[in-house]
Amino acid sequence: MATVTYSKATRIYPGTERPAVDHLDLEIGDGEFLVLVGPSGCGKSTSLRMLAGLEDVDDGSIHIDDRDVTHLPPKSRDIAMVFQNYALYPHMTVYENMAFALKLRKTSKADIDKRVKEAAALLQLEDYLNRKPKALSGGQRQRVAMGRAIVRKPQVFLMDEPLSNLDAKLRVQTRTQIAALQANLGITTVYVTHDQVEAMTMGHRVAVMLDGVLQQVDTPRALYDQPSNVFVAGFMGSPAMNIKTVPVTEGGALFADMTVPLSREQVAAAQADGGDGKVTVGFRPEDCDMVSPTEGGMPVVVELVEDLGSDANVYGHAALNGTNERFVVRTDRRHMPNMGDTIFVKPRPDRHHVFHAVTGNRI
């Protein structure tokens, strides 16, 4: 049971100018499941490895509870980690893999046995305790890696893309198992993934990173509904939000013939800091309707219709300021247009997001 605090933690790899993790400030509550998400190279794994002690912290500090662990070796931090490739010891059986850390701590034989058996029961690994990792399937190996972390009863779990080597179906299944397990054990968990669906479904809170800089930390819902900048808006959600930079007038943002209404404060904010008469507006594919030509929608020529079974994604383009801009609309299957049709798209009132055209921050 512990909290984790990053205070201005920075990592600069030798020989590079730009920090891989730049002044990361992040507080993770006791028992919280925090997901670090971002595109590859954004510093999410580095942040996790800094907490694990596998990477140096060049500046700032990291605390677990009130203990400064910034320069402690990994074994003194009381953490356990699940690796992307599981990193099981190939020469040990499942039992020995799980018992290894306890054995190194000189835990008594009986205690080791009890804890390994408990973890094995929890993860349905009892039948495989005497097998070597090579005789296990991917999902079983993943569970052994989890078990190795669980038997330690650490203060913090670290997981570095633990599901990315599983097939799609198993991934969804294991996703819920991990979330349930974490809720059960109540151990503070930091989970790294590049998959925003995993982030949305598993995390109590989600931290979005880009280029080593933390963009936003919030609950999945708030992140989705109130993205703090253009990057978060575009990263969370699939298909991605339609985000366009368009001219701004007194009445709102101009999308060809359609005006998306903005409040006076928003217009004023868009003009400040060198906004240059432009504003960035985004609306999610599910937050717009197809309307009849007379209702003031934006004409979009359909290029592709993705029928997902439950609903459909319509991809198309519209002429905005002389260039063709692409749009995605999620629609009911009963109103699926055909390729080449022109549809009229209108964002639902007050479901659009407004960002500054230059800084990208939410207005």
Partner: protein, 303 residues
């Protein structure tokens, strides 16, 4: 492909097999035959004497001395070489600890890696000549000059029957270690880094890491090294011939079977007896290799 399959295979195999039979199998067979004659190297029809040469061998003190030396070589040389090579390879690859994430070697490890390999590219005879100077019994020798400089009495080294064999072993180890450092380094490099990281997080220090992670995962490489070194321990001919006093001396204190075979064949012209020694050496080597592979057999580890 069914028809004409055998001519095809035979076409490829004929030449290599013929060469192999002529230059490897036939000499072996002839050696077995010669071992049972009293051939002196010149007469066209040597007289067949059966196992008489082998009976004589069992009575021969020199043979047993040489055998005992092989025993010492077999125990000491692979052991010292492997322990040293493992230690160096570990230091070069993971000994630097987990600074900055990846496990790295100690400072300057790339340089050491090259330096360790130097002895390997020298011919044995050159090594023997060099160490002849290093071990020189007077102040002109590197070691005795050093001993003299710190005020110690000079040692005889190769001329002292008590330590001469160990001087030979030291040279053998010195020359072999570089190759095994490279061999073990390659083995260690194939162990995934995240296994080391997992072990670090599990609380393994360097000693634990070495004995519980690196060593078990290197087992296959180690086994190969042991067989190579063991077979090398049955040889040592060239080094002893050039380096030792009186070719295997003083008073046969460093002699090995190869030296005695050569001496019997080409100095005493007892080809039959020398061949009998050769046959004995053949069986010793093959028994050793088979035993080692059998005893150390373990489940292959898949990384």
């Amino acid at each position: 492909m069914r028809h004409g399959k055998y001519p095809f295979i035979v076409g490829f195999l004929a030449a290599p097999v013929a060469i192999y039979v002529t230059f490897v199998i036939a000499p072996y067979a002839q050696a077995f035959y010669v071992a049972m004659t009293s051939w002196r190297g010149v007469d066209a029809n040597p007289s067949f004497v059966g196992l008489q040469n082998f009976e004589r061998l069992l009575q021969d003190d020199v043979f047993w001395t040489a055998l005992r030396h092989h025993g010492v070589l077999l125990l000491a040389m692979p052991l010292i070489t492997i322990v040293l090579a493992l230690f160096f390879a570990f230091m070069l690859n993971v000994g630097g600890g987990g600074r900055g994430g990846a496990m790295t070697g100690v400072w300057g490890s790339k340089f050491y890696r090259v330096v360790f390999f130097f002895p390997q590219i020298l011919a044995v005879v050159i090594v023997a000549v060099i160490f002849g100077r290093v071990y020189a019994p007077d102040e002109s020798g590197l070691l005795n000059a050093t001993l003299g400089a710190v005020g110690l009495e000079p040692l005889l080294f190769m001329a002292d029957p008590g330590i001469a064999l160990w001087c030979v072993i030291a040279v053998l180890v010195w020359q072999a270690v570089g190759f095994y450092v490279v061999l073990f380094s390659a083995g260690m490099a194939s162990i995934p880094k995240d296994i080391y990281e997992a072990a670090t997080i599990d609380g393994a220090n360097r000693v634990n890491m070495f004995f519980r992670v690196t060593l078990p995962l290197l087992w296959d490489t180690l086994q190969v090294a042991w067989v190579y070194l063991g077979i090398a321990a049955f040889d040592a001919f060239a080094l002893v011939w050039v380096l030792s006093v009186d070719r295997g001396g003083p008073d046969r204190a460093t002699t090995v079977l190869g030296v005695e075979i050569y001496r019997n064949a080409f100095e005493y012209s007892q080809f039959g007896y020398a061949s009998a020694m050769g046959v004995a050496l053949f069986f010793l080597t093959i028994t050793f290799a088979a035993l080692t592979l059998r005893v150390s057999r373990r489940e292959t580890i898949e990384l």
